[in-house]
Symmetry: C2
Subunit: 415 residues, 2 copies
């Protein structure tokens, strides 16, 4: 039997035990895991050191090595996050709807765990703990398939988690790692219908696209963010400066940072010039259309691919648009339905933009950087969904649950 099938079978058994666990048992397990992560710090860091050494030998880039690296501080932050998770409300068991029929039948829609969650992800070992504990909090068993470059760290982390589970009321097999990181095991997970209830990819666009394309198991897609800010003709210049600079530069490497600024052609040219110069001063490279390059000679002419690129870097493409309609058309053509914003003093235009633009989050007069599970107060984040089914936008714990109708009677029959 292959490793994947063997662990999938164990996960199914663990799942059946997990539905009977109380919130307190789950939280106790989380606290034991947090404690174990601190106690076993040296073992984990030693294993991580092996991955780092192997990564250097393989010539991984400094940024990849940084994502891979654990430190006492990072491990401590990870353990703290697990403790915070234990304090959050348990979504499982929540009553979503109650229907009392005239014949006395009581129908209740209740929130339940999804079952077995498969997680495919890249590099960062903190995702291992994050995914495992989010699943445990919501009563799900999980099968983790990380990347080969983090295999020693992941083995150590899952070992620690399983040991902690052994001391809790939860089944040890609630969290399992696929240790064979060949492509084959990823592909096996794609078609593990009947075992996996959902597959969640976390990583770059290539990974996510492959999972969406090849998986027959339902997928929770966490997507890329090619986000736009549209400056309408009535936008306040000072607000535009603040918000655009924040949305682009506060943390350029994340999905809710903007990649393109669309400027209404009637917005005063001196405002536009000042804004672009300030962006440059903040170290942002401007890629502009013809009108922008005329206004700002230091700008690089934008090419077609620039409109569809998620730079994730201090680079921004800037385009003049004739009107609101052209802005919306541009967003629908190039956007990834993540976060889109309008800056305007015209309430009608704001309303039209917010209704028209098809995206997980649409903003009026604010930075797109707020699209985030913690900023929204969810206390946890599985990812940001750019799909429309099940969950859209920042996904908190509820995204890891399903529902079930529980119907109680005393002999009712349908007539």
């Amino acid at each position: 039997m292959s490793e994947v099938i063997e662990k999938a079978k164990k996960a199914k058994i663990a799942k059946d035990e997990l539905v009977h666990q109380t919130t307190e048992s789950k939280n106790e397990a989380l606290r034991l895991i947090a404690e174990a992560l601190r106690i076993k710090q040296d073992d984990i860091l030693e294993a991580n050191g092996k991955d780092i050494a192997a990564g250097k030998e393989k010539g991984l880039s400094p940024s990849l090595l940084d994502r891979l690296a654990l430190s006492p501080k990072r491990l401590n932050d990870i353990a703290d996050a697990v403790l915070l998770l234990a304090d959050l409300d348990d979504p499982v068991g929540e009553s979503l709807e109650t229907i009392k029929k005239e014949n006395g039948l009581l129908i209740e829609k209740v929130r339940v765990p999804l079952g077995v969650v498969g997680m495919i992800y890249e590099a960062r070992p903190n995702v291992t703990v994050d995914a495992a504990t989010l699943c445990l909090k919501t009563g799900n068993a999980c099968i983790l398939r990380g990347s080969s470059s983090a295999i020693n760290s992941n083995k150590a982390l899952v070992g620690v988690i399983q040991e902690a589970l052994g001391a809790s009321k939860l089944p040890k097999d609630a969290v399992q790692l696929i240790e064979d990181t060949s492509k084959e095991t990823a592909k096996q997970l794609f078609t593990l219908n009947g075992y996996l209830d959902v597959l969640i990819p976390r990583g770059g666009k290539n990974l996510i696209d492959m999972v969406v394309r090849e998986s027959t198991v339902p997928v929770l897609e966490t997507g890329a963010g090619n986000c736009h800010m549209f400056i309408d003709e009535s936008a306040e210049s000072e607000m535009a400066e603040q918000v655009v600079i924040n949305a682009k530069t506060q943390r350029p490497s994340v999905c809710n940072a903007i990649e393109t600024v669309l400027i209404h052609e009637n917005w005063p040219k001196r405002y536009a010039k000042e804004l672009l110069q300030k962006l440059e001063k903040e170290g942002v490279q401007i890629k502009g259309d013809e009108a922008v390059c005329e206004l700002l000679p230091s700008a690089v002419p934008a090419e077609e691919p620039d409109w569809e690129t998620e730079f994730l870097a201090p680079v921004v493409s800037v385009k003049n648009v004739r009107d609101l309609d052209e802005a919306i058309r541009h967003i629908h053509k190039y956007g990834t339905r993540h976060s889109e914003a309008i800056l305007t003093e015209n309430e009608g235009n704001a309303r039209f933009f917010l209704t028209s633009v098809d995206a997980a989050a649409v903003y009026h007069n604010a930075s797109t950087r707020f699209t985030d599970g913690f900023e929204f107060g969810y206390g946890a984040e599985i990812g940001i969904s750019t799909q429309k089914l099940h969950a859209r936008g920042p996904m908190g714990l509820k995204a890891l649950t399903s529902s079930k109708y529980i119907i109680k009677g005393n002999g009712q029959i349908r007539i």
Copy 2:
């Protein structure tokens, strides 16, 4: 350009108009459609007549021909259903969550249409009107791909719907039919990512399995029902008789009818015998395991495939089980996660069953026949979902919606 791509492009344009429609405009369009279905009755029946004649020539079975056939009464019922739909609450625009941040940012989660819905279905032309109007009510554009055997009826119905839309405020292209019913057009829909927001198959297991397997567009799976009734040792004999007979015989051809009865071996044998004899008297064929065949010599020995078959007919498989655990294991092995029931006077066993059994609807002391959007008071039903993401169990109008975060500020930036 292929028919599918051409219509998909038009649907996307229609979708962008639909988000601005008011509830009243949508309801007015539905009332115009209901009226047109009555006015154009003769044309529709004539087209349907062609399908029936072609079907007879092709040697379609009487039951398929019956599903295909329209009549003045059936058309009138279809028009009535459209009027009822107009009276239902509009889920679009519902506020699902409001978050007010300390910095003054107002975050609102609002229900919105899914966008463009693709529907692949078999034979019955009533699904054409049903699907189109459910989509319109929820502000979705739809692309319908029916079967070749109903093509004349479907063309006539969609023609009538589009004419009615022409007289309404809604775009005519909100409802479109793919007229080329070759396999190729179905396959094109499977991978129409970027145009279709969801694909809904309605029909037999083969169709649904193929869509789930081959579609890269997100799928709303409406599944088969291999439903079970477990008679625990403490079950009341009279209630068991009533409920089992109802769940099996009230309408054997539907997905929420039971296919297997599991009997606790300690349930008095005379009760079991009486129940099985009554089922036989109601015209139900019994396929039993060894113990059942001993008790009821007229029973046919059940073979392995009988446990996994959705008979959809007056046939039931019956098995003795040692205990609650064996019953649950059997249900998890053979069930389709649709509707599962326990009959027991033991509250602890009931609770354990309701928590353990992984299905869309779980029952204590009632017939499974209630798993139905209308019985649950939803006023409409898109289908019954046996998947766990997005929607589970009977799907009302809300299953055809997504959500979106609308964020309003006055210059807020993230610090």
